[in-house]
């Protein structure tokens, strides 16, 4: 490696990491936590036994999941940030990004959570109900703790996917990792080097998450006998 290449690495890497700490990581964390809450509510509404006028609510949540899973994330970002101002609804880039990522990851994760809840055998509901628990108690005390274990791998997928998807925030003027790489590359004419550095930082973040996932999987599976 020539000395000038090394200089570019040492000067740009701290900037890229700073962008990761200031934008990529908080954007991912905030959107994922909010998205999970939204996903849980969505899954519960869609599994509820509500009748009568409440069915409209269930229909609305169905429509939300359908809409956000059937359109590209980039288009959603543009509609929220560049489109909604036409209706007089304006958000800062941060808020627009958080809203869009939350709604997007919430739609996908709600399906994960719904499937995980449905995968728990009916006998668990029945045993808990015959002990006099309310449906809410059964859900929160018996079903969801078991569903967490089932949904952990697919939710980790969504989480890791979101880390990388936040690079799209560059398109609505947020100076996150990818934008920083782009700017430095334009100055130094070293696109291969710069984009590789950006990729490397994503790789490190996602590797840490993968390791975290395997610990969480072990912990949530502590009551399951080892299968291999």
């Amino acid at each position: 490696m020539s000395s000038s290449t090394w200089e570019i690495v040492t000067s740009s890497l701290p900037q890229i990491i700073t962008a990761a700490v200031k934008y990529t990581i908080p954007l991912t964390l905030i959107s994922f936590v909010l998205g999970l809450i939204l996903a849980l509510i969505t899954a519960m509404v869609r599994l509820s036994l509500m009748r009568g006028p409440f069915q409209i609510v269930r229909g609305l949540f169905w429509g939300y999941v359908w809409l956000f899973r059937s359109t590209p994330l980039l288009v959603q970002l543009f509609i929220v940030f560049f489109g909604l101002p036409n209706l007089g609804i304006e958000f800062s880039p941060w808020i627009a990004a958080i809203i869009t990522f939350t709604l997007n990851v919430g739609a996908y994760s709600s399906e994960t959570i719904r499937a995980a809840i449905l995968s728990i055998p009916n006998g668990q509901w029945e045993a808990a109900l015959t002990l006099g628990m309310t449906r809410r108690q059964v859900l929160f005390r018996i079903i969801l703790p078991q569903a967490v274990r089932v949904s952990l791998p697919p939710l980790s997928n969504s989480f890791i996917g979101l880390v990388k998807d936040t690079s799209l925030a560059s398109s609505i003027t947020i100076v996150e990792m990818f934008t920083v790489g782009q700017q430095i590359s334009a100055k130094t004419y070293e696109p291969l080097l710069l984009y590789s550095l950006v990729a490397l930082v994503y790789l490190v973040i996602c590797t840490v998450l993968t390791i975290l996932q395997s610990y969480l999987e072990k912990w949530t599976s502590r009551y399951v006998p080892t299968q291999h």
Binding site: P121, E126, A128, L131, Q146, R222, Y223, V224
Partner: protein, 247 residues
């Protein structure tokens, strides 16, 4: 006292319960027998409102439910808190230890203090011979042990009535004996129990009242002595078939 009047349950074309009238006396053990698909589980599950019959009356002490009317959540919970159910497939909560399986409902349904619930649970586990398994997860236990935990879990709610739906059908004969011993002891202590079983020896030994169901209809209800010694032709055929199965 627990009593059903003119209860009907229909699945599509199938009359799973056909005009069922029966009283389950307190402090007695009623054993329900009958061929597969005769409606035994449906009957037991209706008593716990896991199934909702189309019509008929259900009396539980002073409470009367009319199955043709909507039943309030309050009544459902009230009834379930006073009845315990043990399933063929155990249905223990796999994410909770054996001890927590037993304390879960007393703490969160009856709002017992955890210390009290825990000491009651330990006594119950000792009673079913599993004091040393309290801190294990259910998957580490044999089927017979799991079923005895399930019995302790139901007993911890101090239910007025206990329902057992083929509690030993999923077990090997040696494990079955451990569970049957526990049931026999409960019966001898004059608990109010309703047991569905295919084990005629056990039925003979434990029943104060016996019910024979076929195609959703009660063809016999009453004294076990008469049932086994002077069976009608239909019951005789059933008993011979069961004997053949066992031998």
């Amino acid at each position: 006292m627990l009593k059903l009047e003119h209860v009907n349950k229909i699945y599509g074309e199938r009359h799973a319960l056909n005009d069922v009238n029966i009283t389950f006396p307190e402090h007695k053990t009623t054993v329900i027998v009958g061929p597969s698909g005769s409606g035994k589980s449906t009957l037991l599950r209706s008593l716990n409102l896991l199934e909702r019959p189309e019509n008929g009356l259900y009396h539980f002490d002073d409470l009367t439910l009319d199955f043709s009317q909507p039943i309030s959540e309050k009544n459902v919970l009230q009834l379930r808190r006073q009845t315990g159910m043990v399933f063929q497939s155990f249905n223990l909560f796999p994410h909770l230890t054996v001890l927590k399986n037993v304390t879960e409902a007393p703490i969160h349904v009856l709002k017992q203090a955890p210390a009290i619930a825990t000491s009651t649970a330990k006594a119950l586990l000792a009673q079913v011979g599993l004091a040393d398994k309290a801190d294990q997860f259910p998957t580490a236990l044999s089927g017979g042990q799991q079923q005895r935990v399930a019995i302790a879990r139901a007993l911890a709610m101090k239910p007025k009535y206990m329902f057992f739906d083929e509690p030993t059908s999923a077990l090997d004969p040696e494990l079955e004996a451990d569970v049957l011993r526990v049931l026999l002891k409960l019966a001898q202590e004059h608990n109010s129990m309703i047991v569905v079983t295919h084990n005629m020896e056990f039925a003979k030994g434990v029943a104060d009242q016996i019910i024979f169901l076929e195609e959703g209809e009660i063809l016999y209800s009453g004294d076990p002595q008469t049932f086994f010694t002077e069976p009608t032709e239909r019951i005789h055929d059933f008993l011979s078939a069961m004997n053949f199965m066992i031998k």
